[in-house]
Amino acid sequence: MTLIPWRGKQHDEDTGSALSAPLHQLRSEMDRLFDRFFGGSLGFMGEPFGRAGAWMPSLDVSETETDITVRAEVPGVDAKDIDIQVSGQVLTISGEKKESTESKGENYYHAERSFGSFRRSVQLPTSIDAEKVSAEYKNGVLLVQMKKEKGAVPKRISVRSVKD
């Protein structure tokens, strides 16, 4: 539900904003419709577009007091085809999963695996030290480790109990 700023009664008449409430309703209804159609990780109609279409690797993000760790399941991707960028508080992982191309005299019985390029951005909870980002790819799982920026590491402040 959208919060509509309350404006005094006298403004309604001269600015014509009596319309604003129904308009807001219409707008949020449209937003919901769009979300229903285009939202979700699977895209339109709940299915990815074709086999060569974009796919989204699943992510796992966790943090400790000093570190942020991002894992992604990207099986079958060459490590050199993975590109990692940090800009501000946003980490972007992109790459391409290439399909083996020998299609002569082949019959597919099952075709469940996804191919093509992918791109995912994730908003990090704090700013990070861009110099201290490490990434490794092992057995189809990408592991990105980041250190939080000094100012972002929480400082514990102890509370003294004082007696009167």
């Binding site: 966790s62 943090e63 400790t64 570190d67 005299g105 019985y109 099952h110 469940e112 996804s114 189809g140």
Partner: protein, 132 residues
């Protein structure tokens, strides 16, 4: 091969029925390709390692089982968790005649590749037609 319906491409959870290890099992996504001389099975198994995967072929049943170590997250707080970590398990009924002794398997970058060569007699034989 199996006639099981393919419903989604996400890694699907399997009901923990007949397993003795108390971990979640997932069904790996596979591609199965038939070539003239063999069947090729490609399975996405991210997080498994080559020596933790068992492949069995018995009485026409092909079983893939990859053990995956559970998440280690001591002292860490999870912010986003889009996938589960657990073993990969899937079985197939193979109707083609397979030479079980010649099955080979490779594991690279989280993808298991199985080559199931067909028995000599099951390979298609081309018969040349001579025109008179």
């Amino acid at each position: 091969m199996t006639t099981e319906a393919i419903e989604n491409t996400e890694k699907a959870e399997l009901a923990p029925t007949e397993h003795t290890r108390n971990v979640q099992h997932y069904r790996p996504n596979v591609d199965i390709i038939e070539r003239a001389s063999e069947l090729t099975v490609l399975a996405d198994m991210p997080g498994a390692s080559g020596d933790s995967i068992d492949v069995d072929f018995e009485n026409g049943m092909l079983t893939i089982h990859g053990r995956v170590n559970p998440r280690e997250r001591e002292g860490a707080t999870s912010l986003l968790c889009e996938y589960g970590v657990g073993d990969f398990y899937r079985t197939f009924q193979v109707s083609e005649k397979i030479d079980a002794g010649k099955i080979t398997a490779e594991f690279h970058d989280g993808v298991l590749t199985l080559h199931l060569p067909k028995v000599e007699g099951a390979k298609p034989r081309k018969i040349a037609v001579r025109a008179k």
